[in-house]
């Protein structure tokens, strides 16, 4: 973790801001706060934070609109905070460039893990052609996947799906995004393809396919490579 990593929190709830401040500063992050959308935009422009935590329910502006405005120039990670049962908003936010989401109430451990992942993904050097996850390794150049040095045979599509998820390790990718990237625009509604290939991949790469640890389902939203 970089000492200088700073985080801007845009949330109108004082208690949530206090809580985030304590969890984040005690883990070495620098924090800034904004209690509404307008202040958030100004603060983001002034401080250039390494990451923004954005609550979708703001008093002055729709959080999704603010997200779009921020994304016009802000390229670093944005994590959104929402209430439960708002899959549509989450999917929309992820499609609009949010990197991750958390539903309130959340556990601080979860929040810190997401923050770390988002910052790491943003700064990680992607020149290493071999991704390693414990006993599993994915060679992006030679398209070879190994577990415990044993080669796992994957089809071309299976490999594309796995490497796409693995490259974004820890980040949730929406159904639509995955379908578009792997199969193309005409397959946006064909979620059964995704289901088939995820099920096949789990059988091949998970230690226990019925208790997946790598390919995690995000209910109604998408999948996350969860190592």
């Amino acid at each position: 973790m970089n000492e200088s990593d700073s985080i801007l929190i845009i949330d109108d709830e004082v208690q949530i801001r206090r809580l985030l401040e304590i969890s984040l500063t005690s883990n070495g992050y620098k924090t800034f706060f904004a209690s509404d959308g307008k202040e958030g935009l100004t603060s983001a422009a002034t401080h250039h934070p390494s990451l923004i935590i954005l609550d979708l329910g703001l008093p002055d502006i729709d959080g999704l609109d603010l997200l779009v405005k921020l994304r016009e120039w802000y390229t670093k990670p944005i994590i959104i905070l929402t209430v439960r049962n708002s899959e549509d908003d989450i999917i929309h936010a992820l499609d609009q460039g949010a990197n991750d989401y958390l539903t309130k109430p959340f556990r601080s451990g979860e929040l810190l893990a997401r923050v770390r992942t988002a910052i790491r993904l943003n700064t990680a050097k992607t020149d290493n052609p071999v991704l390693e996850f414990g006993s599993l390794s994915i060679d992006l150049v030679s398209h070879v996947v190994r577990r415990n040095d044993e080669i796992i045979k994957l089809t071309a599509t299976e490999f594309s799906l796995l490497s796409l998820l693995a490259k974004n390790q820890g980040r949730v990718l929406t159904h639509q995004f995955l379908l578009k990237e792997i199969w193309g625009y005409s397959y946006l509604e064909q979620t059964q393809y995704l289901r088939v290939f995820i099920a096949q991949l789990r059988k091949k790469i998970e230690e226990n396919p019925s208790k997946p640890e790598l390919l995690i389902t995000e209910s109604g939203i998408g999948y996350r490579f969860g190592f």
Binding site: R84, N85, E87, P105, T155, A156, T157, H175, T191, Q192, Y193, R195, V196, I198, A199, S210, K211, P212, T217, S219, G220
Partner: protein, 512 residues
Amino acid sequence: MKYLKREEKIPYPIITSSINQYLIVVIVIALTALFCRPLSTQQGYYIVSFILLFVVSVMAVFLGIGPILIASTLSSLVWNFLFIPPHYKFHIERTEDKLMFVSFFFIALINGVLTNRIRRQEALALEREERTNAIFELTRELSNASGINEILDVAFRDVKKYFDAASICILKEKDNSVEILARKGNGKDLSRIDFKVAEWVFRNSMRAGRFADFYNDASLTYYPMTGKRISPGVLAIEFEKPLSAEDEVFWIGYLTQISNAMEREMLSELALKARLLDESDKLYKTLFTMISHEFRIPIATIMGASDTLLISNTSEYNRTELFNEIFKASARLNHLVENLLNMSRLESGKISVHPDWCDVNDLLNKVARVLKNELERFNLKSSIPAEMPFVKLDFGLMEQVIYNLFLNACQYTATGSDINFEAYYHEGYIVIIVADNGPGFPPAMLDKVFNKFFRVDSQKTGGLGLGLSIVKGLVEAHKGRVIVENQKEGGARFTISIPTEIPDMNKISLEK
């Protein structure tokens, strides 16, 4: 209208006899006279009188009283003029012929009038009987009808049958004015309803509108519907012609029956409303008692634990314990709020189902993952066929369903019990079964399991009793069904079946 239509055939008031009947009389008598001319030269003119009398009698059966009077007069004159000597003169020479002529006239007259009257009375009796039957039939049908629309269906069908009414509309009082409750017939009549007249009729309990004494420039006739305890409203009807006095009596009898049925319906509606109000009042009280009770315990825990942490020097071990208690209490509060929110979303119909292809294995794994800590103490077994197809469900909502069923099993069965999850596809339905080998439900309470705020043991604190009603609500939002039963071998068993399609796997190109 049916009765008026018959009046044309069976005229009782003289004025209703048409000009045609007089023509018929003249023609029939002329023809008879022509036919009798050759006969009278052979058989004598007395025989002609019998034939003429017979003809008049026969005509009396079919024709009105006016034509019959003319027929009697005309036939006696014709007999005199053409047959009694001297011919072609009204003069009668012989005294017995004079007597004969007078008696012929009276016999023809009396015979005709009497025949006509008997027939008329018979027709009246028949008509009365038919009307009594009609009223009886209406009463029977109305008492079988349930709901205002059904009553109106019956009323309109019968009104159309007996009175030639094109449309009928029932209006009901609302906020010092009248509004349309239901209507039958052609739609354009809606614009013709004069609410001012209807209101006047409702207030004054007098008929008004077309053919009535008041507001007779209106296009419909408005009748007040009066009941014993409440006034159901106003009935507007479109008659082609004014009703005869007898039809009016018949119609009023009819209207009374319809009014009574409407009153009955409205009273039972009022009673139902009162009962619902009473029930919702009771529900409110239960809700408030339960919420305050259920919320107080975790809140007390959080307040007490944090207060202790703030003011006293506790050992590191105790501090951790207190933090744990705070965490557990807030998780419990969170669960309560989630359930209340879900319930209110379900009740207000704000939950929208987005079915998408689902891998049931994935669904089970997801819930098992979320409930990892709770399920640790139990023995979760699953049975999903290897060739289980994908099914169309809303993953997020079904996750809550399975979550609630598992949590329910965890809360009400002893540690170490079995929780069985089974899923299969059968003829257009995805069937999901969650069963445990715990104590099951008391048989008498099985049908209340899905009720809001139902808990088997109300003493035991364990939530608001919303979990299972949320399960039912969410399954029904999927157009599915959930049933609960106690298994023979013990334990509760929930069976969910939801209609679903399955993908055509042949269309998915799987490269090898």
